[in-house]
């Protein structure tokens, strides 16, 4: 098992290196000229050229990439003379439109995205598994229809549409909640909750759908297993069988998918964060797209990739923990 985890982590690191390379090259090929962008409005070709040298964009692409990687481990210096400054390791570059080291920016925006994802995750798992269980237990009846229809509607609408509808409905029409205004949960828990409840719900409604379906099908599958029949034959209570036998085996594959979805969310709650004005990483990255802020784009892409890859490792390990058959292999 230890060897397996080591191997998995080594592979993950290699994968991340590959991702960083592709990301860097992909964005480097964009037509946006970082030197021109840092140059501002009243810019002259000489200044662009000077900027290009100053930022290292005059160097060959591979060398730029090497500097990026090196910067991650030893930090990186920018500027010249009295205006020089540095981004300490782990440096992912410096954003000239936000005047911050990318690492600092990510460190600041990531918690928001994390809380958003975590809350949504908890909510959608509860909702999805709950509805899926009901649907499976009431297979073919109206409860089943209702749960599956709900899941279909949820998965079908674009995030921005659901998000804005929810926002308008609760904050304007019904006035149940104040408009979102993000505060750290440690500073103002109440404001945090009233702000996050709608984004959580939005994401949960979107994602719960798939889990309703997965849970339902997984449970129906499990109900056909002989070990469920043996459970009944033992004289176990219905509740015990559903929990220990049916749900348990339906949940194992769900956990793995959920882990990956959670990771995907960490890198990509873009629309939700925009709609609800949450100062998270997703919104920062879409802004970086708009402004062609390449260092931030590379940084957020890499951060997202780290979480996706990390989730893969965790899921693999978790699979082993949850499923003894995998563990001993």
């Amino acid at each position: 098992m230890l060897l397996f985890v080591t191997r998995r982590i080594l592979f993950a690191l290699a994968l991340l290196l590959a991702v960083s390379f592709f990301t860097y090259m992909l964005f480097a090929m964009l037509p946006a000229d970082p030197a021109a962008l840092t140059c501002g409005k009243n810019c002259k070709p000489e200044i662009i050229e000077a900027n290009r040298v100053r930022l290292g964009y005059d160097k060959p692409l591979l060398e730029q990439y090497w500097l990026f990687i090196k910067g991650f481990f030893v930090g990186r210096d920018y500027g010249v003379g009295a205006a020089a400054f540095s981004c300490p390791a782990p440096s992912l570059g410096y954003s000239f439109s936000q005047h911050e080291c990318v690492t600092t920016l990510i460190a600041r925006t990531f918690p928001v995205t994390f809380y958003l994802s975590l809350g949504a995750f908890i909510l959608w798992m509860t909702l999805g598994i709950g509805l899926g269980t009901i649907a499976a237990l009431k297979r073919g009846r109206w409860q089943d229809r209702a749960a599956t229809t709900f899941s279909a509607v949820g998965v079908s609408l674009p995030t921005f549409y659901i998000g804005l509808l929810v926002l308008f409905s609760f904050c304007i029409w019904l006035r149940i909640l104040p408009f979102p205004s993000y505060e750290s949960p440690f500073e103002d828990p109440l404001s945090f909750l009233t702000t996050m409840i709608l984004p959580w719900t939005t994401l949960a409604v979107l994602s719960a759908a798939g889990y309703t379906r997965l849970t339902r099908n997984g449970m129906l599958e499990a109900m056909n297993e002989d070990f469920v029949r043996l459970g009944i034959a033992k004289g176990l209570r219905r509740r015990t069988i559903i929990r220990k036998y049916v749900l348990r085996s339906a949940l194992v594959p769900i956990v793995t998918i959920a882990g990956l979805d959670f990771a995907a969310l960490l890198g990509g709650a873009i629309i939700t964060e925009s709609v609800f004005s949450l100062p998270g990483m997703g919104r920062m990255s879409i802004r970086a797209v708009v402004e062609s802020d390449l260092p931030v784009l590379v940084g957020t892409t890499m951060t997202a990739a780290v979480f996706i890859v990390l989730a893969n490792v965790v899921v693999d390990v978790l699979y082993g923990v949850l499923d003894p058959r995998v563990r001993s292999k």
């Binding site: 297993e225 002989d226 070990f227 029949r229 043996l230 459970g231 009944i232 034959a233 033992k234 004289g235 176990l236 209570r237 219905r238 220990k244 036998y245 348990r248 085996s249 194992v252 949850l322 499923d323 003894p324 058959r325 001993s328």
Partner: protein, 341 residues
Amino acid sequence: MSNSPLLSVSNLCVSFNTPDGVVQAVNDVSFDLFPGQTLGIVGESGSGKSVTASSLLRLNNSVTSTTTGSVQLEGRDVLTVDEPTMRSIRGQDIAMVFQDPLSALNPYYTVGDQIAEAYIIHHSSATKDDVRARVLEMLKKVGIPNPEKRIDEYPHQFSGGMRQRIVIAIALINSPRILIADEPTTALDVTVQAQILDLMLDLQRETGMAIILITHDLGVVAEVADSTLVMYGGRIVERATVSEIFATPTHPYSWGLLGAVGSLDTSTRGHLTTIPGTPPSLISLPTGCSFHPRCAYAKDTGSRCTTEVPELHKVSGTSSSSACHMSDAQLVSLGARGDTL
């Protein structure tokens, strides 16, 4: 063998509603099971033997199936008792062993947990140590080597035969009076099958429980059963003691079955007898005797076989019962001939 039956099944009928129609899986099945008895139920796929077995524990899908008749267990009708009572019957009075020992065990829990679970349900006051001791004792009893270590292992870490021993341990930990074994050795190799059958018989000798053994293998029946039910198309076509059914079978289907079994002793090249055709659909059973399309003797009885369902009746001159329209004398004489088809 005591005179009063432990379990008395009468007129059991089970049908399933499927999208394609109603499946009459079990039709008018009656039999008694006595303490210490081993009853073999023999039949091919779809003969209703497995459905009969699971009806005894009410394991059939309650939504899609309909069960009528009665299953009397010491004055209680298993088919109608309330759910808590049923739960107390399951495992404690009647236990079950399934065909595939891998899929019958929950892959996510240790075998110790799964055996213990069966015990705790019916012994809620037992302490943890008691339970573990009891589980270990059980593992030893079913012949798991090194039980102290293996109690904490998972099903996939065991071989097929060992798994079936564990399923048996689960079934027997509450010392049930009836064990239903549904094709317990079909998935196992022949040498392991022999081990498991021996084990079951040893345990039966020890506890005096009754066994209902569902199998398609006449050899297994011959090895372990006291009496036999032969099922075809959801009905019992013959009921007999083991010695009688092999000596003087009294139903054409039984003749066919016995004829089709090869022997180890002599080569039967070119001589294997067969039953022509295939087993019938349970949705549209042939009219009359459901075996008549495959029966070589159906023409002999005029149109009775195609119109009238033969009653299971005692065949005079034997202790067997048969559901055939032929005369008892014919049945006895043809059965005694051995090579019948």
